[in-house]
Amino acid sequence: MTNTAMDKIEAIDPEHAKMVAEHNMAPDEYAVLVNLLGRPPTEAELGVAAAMWSEHCSYKSTRVWLKKLPTEGPKVLIGPGENAGVVDIGDRQAVIFKMESHNHPSYIEPYQGAATGVGGILRDVFTMGARPIANLNSLRFGEPKHWKTRSLVAGVVAGIGGYGNCIGVPTVAGETTFHPSYNGNILVNAMTVGLVDSSRIFTSKAAGVGNPVVYVGSKTGRDGIKGATMASGEFDANTDAKRPTVQVGDPFTEKLVLEACLELMATDAIVSIQDMGAAGLTSSSVEMASKGGLGIEIDLDKVPLRETKMSAYEIMLSESQERMLMVLKPGRESEAEKIFRKWELDFSIIGKLTDTGRLVCYRNGKKEVDIEVGPLVENSPVYNRPYEIPAPPPVVDAAKYPLPKGETLASVLEKMLNTPDLCSKRWIWEQYDRHVMADSAQESSHNADAAVVRAHGTNKGIAMTVDCTPRYCAADPVMGGRQAVTESWRNLCAVGATPLAVTDCMNFGNPEKPPIMGQFVGAIQGMAEACKALDYPVVSGNCSLYNETNGEPISPTPCIGGVGLLANVNNMATITFKGEGEAIFVIGETKGHIGQSLYLREIHSKEDGAPPPVNLTAERRHGKFIRNAIAAGEIKTCHDVSDGGLLVALAEMALAGDIGCRLDISAPDAAFWFGEDQGRYVVVVPDADNFQAKVQAAGIPYLLIGQTGGDAINVAGSSVTLDKLRQAHGGWLPNYMKG
């Protein structure tokens, strides 16, 4: 804070200076607020404005850049700006999905932080009328040897499972990696996919002056107050003291809210509906009013409270979970109330829509908030922060990193499968109910490129995946952003799905530092390139900035959640080797790019070089070929080649099918087998000649590298049994968690 700015505050209202700082509010923002009100704010008004203008709610550092992402397409029904994105899947059905971070709370209190992350994203999806059909997550932890990592893994996993299992939505896919850059700031990104009748989509836009504003769900307590402003600042030595800002979740109540909302949504009583997430009643009421261009008047005495003597400030800023705000059509109150009472939930008419354009709140008969909604939203600050995009490092010469002395391809493979990022995550996903709703066709246990969930009552499959390779993004944010989108697209193609659209979760450090802002800008640029080239628009998203502790930022992590459609769920491909003597092909070109590869990091202890380049034209061509061949029934077995390279992909396929393989190609160098060149798939088919003719006709580069069979992986004169690989792959995480 500059001295002049501090003087300005003190000149206006010395008592507020401390509060302004506590709310991570910039002094200039305070001046705007005073100007808007024409008087000093009340405590509640200060809280409302600070929350609305927090990075978390206002996207003030990122908004100018997020506009660069393509958000439209023929299948997009609703893009960014609502609670979640909506994409048409035909037959009057749509999928609604979004990913959101709960990073800061999960570091402070891992179980509740992760659990309420899941609860929050589920609400975003069912607020719009969809029944949630799947949860996914992307988790980044610090290095395994860091003293906090083990307990954070245990707590986050238990929290995700605790919430998803209870509410009865399957957790079908995810990714978990470890890196020292997350030692002080873990990432917990949760995604929910829901299914909706496309004629029954609900939005938050309020309408109808005089219409009742109704509060439903749980009671309001003092939990999570200032959560949004907390998540808009860095951590320091006193992070543990922030525990009271973390919300406490109750999945049982959310299950009731879900069922009650869907039951009411089957009628036509609702005008608009909005969940109370970050900044609780503040953001939900402001959002509804501003979208409808109306005012809203709330009697805070009518809000169901869990604790006594709560102030207007506390009620407006509480982030108690499992609450919804809705506007009903006049005269429909008792019908709605009956449904919520049946589900034993609170239901209270707390206010009405007005034509004043103002948010007005009363507490104990006293007017505590009276602020114009339009300017509160429009005057929210927008920063064009300075940025520096780092130049990509030079490409690493693969010849400098041969197999270490005494090692073979097989022995290195065994070592790599026993590392934190490549090992089996069974210890994690066995704690998640992956089968409830009885429509899961592929989930984590299949080690699938993408999970596949059947659209209930149909034969259609919804494919979904979450992806990001932070080490690529750290080296070259543009290429990293491009790769994250492309890998997600490729993963959908690999199961046979047509990619539809993405949601993003942008996790970065402090945007006030130009190199960090540069990472963000670069990643957006790369993402935009890929989304455009692949017809893969962004329909929803979330930014989590200030992931720093004592000035140490996380690796840039623009996590991508992709969703695709399979016309026939029975036609999907899996990674599993299905029989002996089948031909193994690699589609796409293998050049042996080892810069930023896991081979380089795990075997040579180097994080170095440019990440592998992504050729979007080739990606598009290869993906289309793969999808068409799967749809035609020509490919049943397919796996995208990503982390760890070709040999790791083959090992995963062999382990899934409990069938080995013999790789006859005479290319013994490590870079060929462990390089992470993009745009590649392993395809296994019974009839080599027939398939070869098809790839040749399509003009796509390929290699026939061997065939399935036996109980070992034989590669260039070295060999390792599947039993040993299974031990290596399955052993790391459970051994680590045992401590």
Partner: protein, 220 residues
């Protein structure tokens, strides 16, 4: 045959169970709300999986005291067939329609994975479409599936042929590897694995479908 699925607040396998039942039955089962105290005339009542009442107090404990359960207990005593799956099994134990109790898994963690069980006896209406000794696979998904009863009770269950489903590899610490038991009269069965999640090829196993078909055939 008239079948019903009970819906408690927090049930989350009610729909899946109804779908599997409908598949075997050819018509939709009744869905009964936990507050209902008057049940239609039924041949089969299914208590589905989930987290009734949020698993608060103890799994199944609150559901056992819900209005509908008084009626279910009365009907079970009159010979109506009752199947409890997962949380339904826990509720049957807490209602004392079945002996014993389900404790937390030995690992203290929620476990979701396919398990293989041996059908110890098919001499009942629930399992008649299986062979005795047949090995069948269904998923489990529970935090409290660790069956416990005192020695005399276990001896009685074993001696009386009431342990009808036994894990091949014990996933949760259950006494005697018990996956499912039946009551003395043979009209109340509880099991932890989910037959409704192993009911068609999409599920990877359709071994559970025969349980619903057994009931439909027997109670036709």
């Amino acid at each position: 045959m008239k079948a019903a699925v009970v819906v408690f607040p927090g049930s989350n396998c009610d729909r899946d169970t109804a779908v599997a039942l409908e598949h075997a039955l050819g018509k939709k089962p009744h869905m009964i709300w936990h507050a209902d105290t008057k049940l239609p005339k039924l041949d089969l009542i299914v208590l589905p999986g989930g987290f009734s009442y949020g698993d608060y107090l103890r799994t199944g404990a609150m559901a056992a005291h819900s209005p509908v359960m008084r009626e279910v207990v009365a009907q079970a005593k009159n010979g109506v067939y009752v199947l409890g799956i997962c949380n339904g099994f826990q509720i049957l134990c807490e209602s004392q329609l079945l002996p014993g109790v389900l404790l937390r898994n030995e690992s203290l963690k929620f476990i979701c994975k396919p398990v293989t069980m041996r059908v110890e006896s098919n001499d009942n209406h629930f399992l008649r479409k299986y062979e005795a000794g047949q090995e069948i696979t269904m998923p489990i998904a529970h935090g409290e599936g660790n069956y416990f009863a005192e020695k005399e009770t276990l001896d009685h269950l074993e001696g009386n042929g009431q342990v009808v489903l036994r894990y091949r590899e014990n996933p949760n610490g259950s006494a005697h590897d018990i996956a499912g038991i039946i009551n003395d009269k043979g009209n109340v069965l509880g099991l932890m694995p989910h037959p409704e999640r192993a009911a068609e090829s999409l599920h990877g196993s359709s071994d559970g479908a025969a349980m619903f078909r057994s009931l439909v055939e027997a109670l036709r």
